[in-house]
């Protein structure tokens, strides 16, 4: 299969299932080297979106809902990027929800109780100290798990199953089960909301920078291939890719900017800043939410790690053939420790997003998140047999899961039935993927 490693701009992964030679569509896919599997996922996502849009009578595909969807996806999407690496190396991490709960609780106590006493309420350094502490603790927990798995040879399933119980219990002990609230004002920005969004102007700036990055990446890839006389895409295909990438980015920014501040908040803002309240109301764009930016940044960094660094290469090699990787001189145990440490750090980032969004750290934070995270990675094409997976796919998988849930909430479906649907979708999605992979061979 061509999607073993992500289809980076540089790799000439030959796409397609090797059928229909002269077919215009297949020629298009071959020339642009678009991953058809990824395309299938995007297609499924669109079907889900349009389906819910019709069923809810036009409530789903609104800027407001899509914006909320993006914020709700962020936390699981962040963890799913790490879960890909874990599963690719034939491991599993069942403890991510509990690590999220524990680091979230620690961060909650730090910013709401300990640090304000020392530095003063809403001190500008509180959020940073809190976040760093959370990342360090998450990393340490992950390192501990990884070390037990790698050096004591306890299966990851068991170690993280233990971790699931241990860290959930530890979460309770931090405050004896009390919920900690409210969070620091600056920290709360990581949760999105009206304050935690970057507004129209900055959103456009981010969008334009992203477009420039797409153009630069494609030009660079072309230049590299030329240097070593590798086959290149036809020029029209490059233009199509640039146009497609930029259209998606700018479209997303436009939608985020179409979602305006709620009228009461806008009115208060106008009063506070002495802006006369206009006739038709004041429309202030939310723009891209901070947690979404964080998730995208995490996705980019993780993709870079997985495809451009030795570490990522080793992760995939270990997943493909652990013995060969060991014989090639890779320190496989250390790679395992690093993967789990990374997973712990990502859990802490997700914890920051979710506690900031809830404006509280609770005892039950992140419960069942391990299952959503694993499901997102698997729906996103990560093979539980190891060796296969992509970061972008997992993030898309998280979006699919969240879309299903949001859509069902909009439809007023009860929680138990939501779970039934999500569970069945997971099984069907993996079955479809198995069929696709079997055909692609």
């Amino acid at each position: 299969m061509a999607d073993t490693m992500q289809t980076t701009t540089k790799s000439t992964t030959s796409v397609g299932t090797g059928q229909a030679e002269g077919n215009l569509l297949s020629r298009f896919f071959r020339a642009t080297e678009i991953d058809t599997r990824m395309l299938g996922m995007i297609g499924a996502l669109l079907i889900i979106w349009i389906g819910f849009h019709i069923l809810t009578g036009g409530l789903f595909l609104t800027p407001r809902n899509l914006w909320n969807l993006s914020v709700q996806t962020a936390s699981v999407a962040v963890m799913a990027t790490g879960m890909v690496l874990v599963i690719v190396t034939r491991n599993i991490d069942l403890s991510v929800g509990s690590i999220l709960g524990f680091t979230g609780m620690i961060m909650g106590v730090l910013q709401a109780r300990l640090l304000p006493e020392m530095l003063g309420f809403n001190h500008p350094a509180i959020w940073l100290i809190t976040l760093c502490a959370g990342l360090v603790i998450g990393g340490l927990i992950g390192t501990l798990h990884g070390a037990i798995i790698a050096f004591l040879s306890v299966p990851s399933f068991i170690v993280t199953l233990g971790g699931l119980l241990v860290w959930r219990g530890a979460t309770w002990f931090v405050t004896s089960g009390q919920t900690v609230a409210p969070m620091d004002a600056n920290f709360r920005l990581m949760g999105g909301g009206t304050e935690g969004s970057i507004g129209a102007t900055w959103s456009w700036i981010v969008g334009i920078l992203a477009c420039l990055a797409i153009v630069a990446a494609i030009i660079n890839a072309r230049h590299q291939r030329k240097r070593f006389h590798f086959p290149r895409r036809p020029v029209w295909a490059e233009y199509v890719l640039v146009a497609l990438g930029c259209a998606i980015v700018l479209g997303a920014v436009w939608i985020a900017n179409q979602y305006y501040w709620p009228i009461n908040i806008a009115r208060r803002y106008a009063e506070a800043n002495n802006i006369a309240w206009p006739e038709g109301g004041l429309f202030i764009s939310q723009g891209i939410a901070v947690p979404v930016l964080m998730a995208i940044a995490v996705g980019i960094v993780m993709t870079f790690i997985a495809t451009r660094l030795r570490f990522g290469r080793y992760v995939f090699a270990i997943g493909g053939n652990p013995e060969a990787a060991e014989l090639a001189g890779i320190k496989t145990r250390w790679v395992t420790v690093k993967i789990f440490a990374l997973m712990g750090v990502l859990c802490a980032i997700a914890a920051a997003i979710s506690t900031a969004r809830l404006n509280a750290a609770t005892n039950a934070q992140g419960e069942l998140d391990e299952l959503y995270t694993i499901a997102a990675a698997v729906i996103g094409g990560t093979s539980l047999a190891g060796g296969m997976g992509s970061i972008a796919g997992a993030m898309l998988g998280a979006l699919v899961m969240q879309s299903l849930q949001s859509g069902m909430v909009l439809l007023g479906i009860d929680t138990p039935f939501q779970r039934i649907v999500v569970g069945m979708v997971l099984v069907v999605a993996v079955w479809l993927d198995t069929v696709y992979r079997a055909r692609a061979k």
Binding site: F230, T307, F316, A325, L327
Partner: protein, 261 residues
């Protein structure tokens, strides 16, 4: 017999046991530059185990390894590679899910000045090496599992020679190959030999290696039965060594030789 130089590799009195079973017992083998030495024996005779000690996959319980006459401390595959020892394993130890270039450079990836993988340069070198080795090889972008046995074997061999190996270990190099590919590997071995590389060939099938080898070592039940120059013995005599442990007059007996009254 006068030996021209120091042996490239000398493994002296090597022993290793797994859970009380002596897989290799007091075995000594040596290899000179530009020489092909075949290590023969039945399945389970200990030849693969012995050679995995040299390549760093196993740690010996006792004995010495000398490279160019000097003590070599080989504890893991990385140490072995530092001494220029490259191994092509029977199981074709390649990572199935990544492409040829990634496999060739596995563990020794080229990096750009930014510390990122230099995929383009690795692929360029891979194309060059594979072009020399197997000009028909064109599937550079596909995961190795999409390749045929021979193609996978050429990837494994390319990996070994890419890094200027001085000592090459080939464990059943032709077991998975068709006749034409086997001939190719034979040509390759002769070419490498001319470049002064010492080669260990491991096989349970004498016909695979007898014509390529300068000397044979025969192992049985974890012990070295004896060794001989291929010009001094016949195939049948070597077969006798493998099956019965009977050492012919042209060969030098080892600790595992059948005690003849």
């Amino acid at each position: 017999m006068t030996e021209p130089t120091n042996p490239l590799v000398e493994m002296k009195n090597i022993s290793i046991s797994f859970g009380g079973i002596h897989a290799v017992e007091n075995a000594s083998v040596d290899l000179f530059p530009g020489e092909v030495v075949a290590l023969l024996g039945h399945n389970g005779a200990g030849k693969s185990t012995l050679i995995k000690i040299l390549s760093g996959a196993y740690k010996r319980d006792a004995g010495d390894i000398l490279i160019n006459g000097e003590q070599a401390d080989i504890r893991n595959p990385r140490d072995a590679k530092k001494f220029g020892i490259e191994t092509i394993y029977q199981t074709l130890a390649v990572a199935d899910n990544v492409d040829a270039a990634a496999n060739l450079y596995l563990g020794r990836e080229l990096q750009t000045k930014w510390g990122t993988l230099d995929d383009v340069a690795m692929e360029a070198n891979t194309r060059e090496v594979m072009g020399r080795l197997n000009p028909n090889f064109k599937r550079f972008k596909e995961p190795v599992k999409a390749l045929s046995g021979g193609q996978r074997q050429s990837v494994a061999i390319a990996r070994a020679i890419l890094f200027d190996a001085r000592i090459l270990i080939m464990d059943e190099p032709t077991a998975a190959l068709g006749p034409q590919e086997t001939a190719q590997v034979g040509d390759l071995i002769k070419q490498l030999k001319r470049e002064g590389i010492g080669i260990f060939l491991i096989s349970h099938d004498i016909h695979d290696v007898f014509d390529l080898a300068d000397r044979v070592f025969v192992m049985k039940n974890g012990k070295v039965v004896g060794h001989a120059r291929t010009e001094d013995v016949t195939k049948d005599e070597v077969l006798g060594m493998i099956i019965l442990g009977k050492v012919p007059p042209g060969a030098t007996p080892g600790p595992g030789a059948m005690k003849v009254a």
